[in-house]
């Protein structure tokens, strides 16, 4: 994966937030936590009101014409030079990798690339752009971390683990077959429900085997799939976005 994107923030730490459609619709608290965490480390956030979706559902679904319309909207909405922070490895990879594929033969590829070159996944940004390697506060929990697949080849997974393992009270337990996908895959989850849920069941087995207090991810899409599967089985699991753990650690430590 080309990691030449990731434009560093200015000294005033102004950034734009792309909350993602999933947080917009289902996971409001993960987006809130992202804001509070970024502000705690001194960022000044802009939230472009016109934002909708990164365009990935149609891109992965094969409808690139529909996807390009949405990508163009996103490029216009996030105009400017500021780093764009996304609390999702999947949406971030869409902006800095997928969109470039979809625009390979399009005249406005440079505009798409301009956005790609300043787009960051949240954990990668906190650790590798701002240099934060230890997280203050306290969070007493045995945590299983799900490295979502779209963070492969990026600095996101190691960054998230750096932050999590540094929290006082938090123990990160390794999960079996960590390189295996949870089975979500966007439209794959509804077009291939048998394969998708079999993959999810296997992932749940590995997670349950280490008996964590909660499952933490940098992608709520994986959590929606695994959490939904576990709930339907009548054996719900607790899932959180990394940002929620970071925010709650600050709260527990009286820092927020």
């Amino acid at each position: 994966m080309d990691l030449s994107h990731r434009k560093l923030p200015g000294t005033d730490k102004r950034v734009q937030l792309m909350a993602t459609c999933l947080c917009d619709a289902f996971y409001a608290d993960a987006a809130r936590a992202t804001v509070e965490v970024l502000e705690y480390i001194g960022c000044r956030l802009e939230f472009p009101e016109g934002q909708t979706c990164c365009g990935q559902p149609a891109f992965n679904g094969g409808d690139w014409a529909a996807s390009r319309k949405v990508v163009r909207h996103t490029v216009r909405t996030f105009a400017g030079e500021l780093p764009v922070i996304i609390p999702s490895a999947s949406c971030a990879a869409m902006v800095f990798h997928g969109a470039l594929l979809a625009f390979e033969k399009e005249p406005d590829l440079p505009e798409v690339r301009q956005l790609a070159n300043r787009t960051w996944e949240l954990a990668d940004f906190i650790v590798n752009a701002l240099g934060v390697r230890t997280w203050p506060g306290r969070y007493d929990a045995k945590v299983a971390f799900h490295r979502s697949c779209h963070s492969r080849g990026t600095e996101t997974g190691p960054a998230a683990l750096t932050l999590l393992s540094s929290i006082a009270g938090t123990t990160v337990v390794p999960v079996g077959e960590a390189e295996q996908c949870c089975g979500f895959g966007g439209t794959f989850s509804v077009a291939f429900p048998n394969v998708s849920t079999s993959m999810g069941a296997l992932k749940l087995e590995h997670v349950r085997a280490v008996q964590p207090d909660l499952l933490v991810s940098i992608d709520m899409s994986c959590m929606m799939h695994l959490g939904g599967l576990a709930a339907k089985e009548g054996k719900p699991i607790r899932t959180q976005h990394l940002a929620q753990v970071l925010r709650d650690s600050l709260k527990n430590g009286g820092l927020l």
């Binding site: 909350a19 459609c21 947080c23 917009d24 619709a25 289902f26 996971y27 409001a28 608290d29 809130r32 804001v35 939230f47 016109g50 934002q51 909708t52 979706c53 559902p57 149609a58 891109f59 992965n60 679904g61 094969g62 409808d63 690139w64 529909a66 996807s67 319309k69 949405v70 909207h73 594929l101 390979e104 697949c149 779209h150 492969r152 080849g153 077959e177 390189e179 295996q180 996908c181 089975g183 895959g185 966007g186 439209t187 794959f188 989850s189 509804v190 077009a191 291939f192 429900p193 048998n194 394969v195 849920t197 993959m199 999810g200 296997l202 929606m224 959490g227 939904g228 709930a231 339907k232």
Partner: protein, 464 residues
């Protein structure tokens, strides 16, 4: 609503088949990874280098193919070019007929599966016997291989023992050593009686014309020990530029395929037997097979031609592990097959257009590929192609995106939809007639709708 064929197949895979495939792939994948990272400082750099070399080869076939043809001819081999599967089969038949040959022993070669050679020859009265143990079992069962390297990964030894009993190879006995000994006894006579030995080639050096064949059973050696004529079937993409490149590729191939440092047998053939040599085939024919590879080369998915058929992407693939190889309805299954099979289908692309959809795009295949093929990117390009060409198999089960793209490009409509989604909290989802929602909720719950809550919070906290 139309359903995806591979997903339907998966629902009916017997539990013991799935368990065998899962255990076999998982074990090999884990050994492979440990071995590569224990033995090399940076295996990823090796994968990238091998990928660059193969990419260079496929983009310069117009240089390397004439070069290898000249070398092979100088070495005394005869070179044939087959544009199609039919031409390749016909070339083999002609060589055999010219010698009055009626019996062939075959080493394992995927390209012979691709052109359905054994079937073609059998229909014309020629015995074409598989000598790789797995392929032999596939042949007596009239089955198909379900893995590139382990053709019978889907079978257990009890089934094999039953097949051997049925074929008169001995009373039922499912001890693996007994099965192997019986196959060996049967095959020994066949090697001696055969007229022609057929192999593939894992690599061909353009520099020397040297063919490389790797096996673990030594069956390709046996196939050429008593026969007087060697036919090698080779896909045109199998070249490497120089002999010294083989060091890199052999190191990667065995580790990636079977978690071995080197296969038990690594053979090099550069031509027929020399007058000074006591044994070996007097005639050697190399048939280079195109069969739509040049169309793949002309496409935006040419990186798939780097593939060295190690099967590492199958072993790591969570979809392959659940679905097993026959779910792909193709000679080449798994992630590489999901790219290659629709492309090799040429004019019949639409018949395989669903395969690129059979992936969660998790990228594990790219991470293990010894020639670093960006398989997820290629799957995505083929999804786009399937959509543009209106292939019905491709679109089955994927929600239509037109309406979504209208809403997602209009902030006002988006906000309305965020509000309207609340209906899902009040109506049981089973009453909402959206197929995607139905497919989701059959085995998963949806989280509570929070549409617009975050935006409201953002707005309120900004107020002084």
């Amino acid at each position: 609503m139309a359903k995806q064929l591979l997903d339907q197949f998966t629902a009916h895979v017997p539990a013991d088949t799935r368990a065998a495939v899962y255990l076999g792939t998982k074990t090999t994948h884990e050994k492979r990874t440990k071995m590569l990272f224990d033995q090399f400082a940076d295996p990823n750099r090796l994968r990238q280098l091998a990928g660059e070399i193969k990419q260079h080869v496929v983009e310069n076939l117009d240089t390397y193919l004439p070069q290898v043809e000249a070398k092979l001819k100088a070495n005394g081999a005869q070179v044939h070019w087959a544009a199609t599967a039919e031409e390749a089969c016909a070339a083999v038949l002609k060589i055999m007929q010219d010698r009055g040959a009626t019996k062939m022993v075959k080493a394992k070669t995927m390209v012979s599966e691709e052109i359905e050679l054994a079937h073609y020859l059998e229909k014309r009265g020629i015995e074409a016997l598989e000598t790789d143990l797995g392929e032999f079992i596939v042949q007596i069962d009239k089955d198909h291989p379900s893995h590139l390297v382990r053709p019978i990964i889907h079978k257990n030894r009890r089934e094999i023992a039953q097949s051997f009993e049925r074929e008169g190879l001995g009373a039922y006995n499912d001890d693996p050593e007994t099965i192997t000994r019986r196959a060996r006894q049967f095959l020994r006579h066949k090697y001696l009686a055969a007229d022609v030995g057929l192999t593939g080639a894992n690599f061909v050096s353009a520099e020397s014309g040297r063919l490389v064949v790797v096996t673990n059973e030594g069956n390709s050696r046996f196939s050429l020990a008593a026969t007087k004529c060697h036919i090698a079937l080779v896909g045109i993409e199998k070249l490497v530029p120089r002999d010294r490149d083989l060091g890199l590729f052999l190191n990667l191939l065995a580790r990636s395929a079977t978690a071995q440092q080197l296969t038990v047998y690594t053979e090099f053939f550069s031509g027929p037997k020399l007058p000074s040599q006591p044994d070996g085939p007097e005639e050697m024919h190399v048939i280079f097979v195109d069969n739509n590879r040049t169309e793949v080369l002309a496409s935006d998915c040419r990186e798939i031609l780097r593939c060295i058929r190690c099967g590492a992407c199958l072993n790591v693939c969570p979809v392959y592990r659940q679905a097993s190889g026959h779910a792909y309805r193709s000679v080449y299954p798994g992630p590489v097959g999901a790219v290659l099979s629709p492309l090799l289908a040429g004019a019949h692309f639409a018949d395989k257009a669903d395969l690129p959809k059979a992936s969660s795009l998790c990228g594990a295949c790219n991470e293990v590929c010894p020639v670093n093929i960006p398989i997820p990117d290629l799957l995505l390009r083929l999804r786009d192609k399937g959509k543009r060409e209106y292939a019905p198999l491709a679109s089955a089960g994927t929600p239509p995106m037109g309406g979504w793209s209208v809403i997602a490009t209009s902030p006002a409509a988006w906000k309305t939809a965020l509000f309207g989604g609340k209906i899902m909290d009040y109506l049981p989802t089973k009453f909402i007639p959206v197929p995607a929602l139905q497919a989701w909720q059959a085995k998963r719950t949806l989280p509570k709708w929070r549409g617009g809550e975050f935006r409201k919070w953002m707005k309120n906290r900004r107020k002084p």
